[in-house]
């Protein structure tokens, strides 16, 4: 079905599309989407995820600002693309500046990010229709002790276009925890994160995307690291009707260090596509793109990792790794490694494996008295644990991953029992 991007833009755009005095850039982005269309399967990088067709089949309306009151002041709530946490409840700490992306008083450092040109379709669509969001700045050398926690909630059948801006100045340190909670019903999220780390800054970013069977989740992180900056991102994705999570990182200085650890834990007929790209623009930087997937039911997991090492970016150290464990014969994993190396003196490695649970290991544990169910669960937990140790917010990430795994194993069990139940 040929998608018509016109449908994404109503005749009368809501008032929030006129915020920030940014009409010119919104129009420009809108024109780009109309001209170039949305990504479809014939495009490189979108072979496994046909978001254009999914959006055409399941249109979502632009929402009005929801009326619910913010309840939990510990988390910043963004619902249907609107910031629900009142400014007075936003976290406060020395060196930390948080500005809502709305109203006339947007600070110039945040406004600069909003003027950045978009080149890809989905971020352009986001920019054309950005509702609200948040901009975070951490001053030079400030180390923010508590993680900043976000919840991106969605009501049914609405399209949300929030934006998150993060600026860490020299030597600043911040931890972000982002949750996309489970829910019922359709809808579309198109989230864009713009992240900039100055020299020596460090960001830990944990993203938890919980299962939404009928939802279309698209999110992108665009990260720039200056010299000696370090970004560690963990993604735990349970998948959705269609989930596409992009992570692009540009290493612009020596000793910049980027690590993405993606974990796909999807069952039923959910889909999760994680597309990571890292650009070694400067020599002497390190990157590690790593994924683990546990897939059950008819779930589809995708990990596309692309590493580009520019000419003269010598002494780059780039690794990619992907391993998947399939719990069901109908689950699928696609792993697509790409390495484009234009420098001579580099260290690069990649590896990929897809298989079922290791029978030898299962027997070993059962021989020590552990039931088959417990042994399987321990092995899968080990598969995850082995992946996560170097990550930020380790305890929280592991707890979230365990919970996701538990849900996945439960759905596997009920699917199997349905198959064996002649009445079903």
């Amino acid at each position: 079905m040929p998608p018509n991007p016109e449908n994404l833009f109503p005749d009368n755009l809501p008032s929030w599309t006129k915020l920030h005095g940014d009409k010119a850039i919104r129009d420009q982005c809108r024109q780009r989407v109309l001209r170039e269309g949305l990504p479809h399967r014939r495009l490189e990088g979108w072979t496994y995820t046909d978001i254009a067709a999914a959006l055409a089949r399941q249109p979502s309306a632009l929402p009005k600002r929801p009326k619910d009151a913010e309840r939990d002041a510990a988390d910043i709530l963004i619902k249907d693309g609107f910031l629900m946490t009142p400014p007075k409840n936003l976290p406060k700490e020395t060196g930390l500046e948080i500005a809502p992306l709305s109203g006339a008083s947007l600070p110039s450092w945040a406004a600069d990010f909003l003027q950045e040109e978009e080149s890809a379709a989905l971020p352009s669509l986001n920019r054309a229709l950005t509702q609200e969001g948040i901009a975070i700045r951490v001053r030079a050398r400030a180390r923010i002790a508590s993680p900043i926690r976000f919840i991106f909630a969605a009501s049914q059948n609405h399209a949300a276009y929030p934006r998150l801006i993060v600026l860490l100045e020299k030597g600043a340190k911040l931890s972000l925890m982002e949750t996309h909670p489970a829910g019922e019903g359709g809808g579309f999220l198109n989230l864009v994160r713009q992240i900039h780390l100055d020299a020596g800054a460090a960001l830990h970013h944990l993203i938890i995307q919980e299962a939404r069977h009928s939802f279309i989740h698209a999110s992108a992180a665009r990260i720039a690291l200056q010299k000696e900056a370090r970004c560690q991102t963990a993604i735990i994705a349970e998948g959705a009707k269609l989930a596409r999570m992009e992570w692009d990182c540009s290493l612009n200085g020596k000793n910049a260090d980027a690590h993405l650890a993606a974990l796909i834990l999807a069952g039923d007929s959910r889909h999760a596509d994680i597309a990571a790209r890292v650009f070694h623009k400067s020599g002497g930087a390190r990157s590690f793109l790593s994924a683990r997937a546990i897939l059950g039911g008819r779930a589809r997991g995708v990990f596309q990792a692309a590493t580009h090492i520019a000419h003269r970016a010598n002494q780059s150290d780039a690794r990619q790794n992907s391993r998947a464990c399939l719990l069901s014969p109908n689950a699928h994993m696609r792993a697509k490694p790409e390495l484009a190396i234009y420098a001579d003196d580099v260290k690069c490695a990649h590896g990929s494996a897809v298989g079922e649970m290791d029978d030898n290991a299962l027997f070993y544990l059962r021989q020590r008295g552990l039931s088959e169910k417990i042994a399987k669960s321990m092995l899968l937990e080990a598969f995850i644990q082995d992946h996560l140790p170097s990550l930020p917010n380790m305890n929280h990430a592991m707890d979230a991953a365990r919970l996701s795994l538990k849900k996945l194993l439960k759905s596997e069990k009920s699917e199997k029992s349905e198959k064996h139940d002649p009445a079903a």
Binding site: N360, Y364, R366, M378, E381
Partner: protein, 247 residues
Amino acid sequence: MTTPLLTLDNLHVAVEGKPILNGLHLAINDGEIHALMGPNGSGKSTLAFALAGREGYEPRKGEMRFQKRDLSALAPEERARLGLFLGFQQPVDIPGLGVMPFLRAALNAKRQARGEEEISPADFLRLCRGAAERLGISEELLRRNVNDGFSGGEKKRLEILQMTILKPRLAILDEIDSGLDIDALKLLGHAVNALREDGMAALLITHYRRLLEHLALDKVHLLRDGKIARRGGAELAEIVEREGYAA
């Protein structure tokens, strides 16, 4: 006459359709140490897997009785909880699973099956550290993941540690001596002897007499073409080592 702890009667096992064990008879009583020797491919490891309940190693004919129970009717974990322990020839690496949590889960599974309470973390730590110290296993090894990055000798030591902590009724040790240095062999001998005093029996699968020297053997069986070709006392191991399996 008391019933043996383990009785194998006319045991036939085929793996992937190929007959490996062809009418094996064996009886082991409580507290006895038996050695099973035999050339490569004679069926020693097949017997170990059949006893432990590995899929694909089910008997086609004959009987396996352990503590008067028909082993064929039991899942691997049920056999383990009854007290049947297999020390693996090639222990499996499990990255991501810590040695201590694994050992504690295994011990608790066994205790639970006997209607006992779970061991407290403090008591388990004491038990584990004490046993590790006696076997020359470092704290550092205990903090690592199961067999992950272990040398051959370290893997075998971890098998012995598991046996020591789980205190089985029957330990089947499949070439546990390969990869062990002389000191470790001595420690293994001590560990088996100590458990034997509590009534543990053992079936040692080996090619060499060097481990057997540390133990008071009750019987030696020579396996050939899936059958016990010869039985004897400790002297049989000496003959085999001197003259080879053709003896």
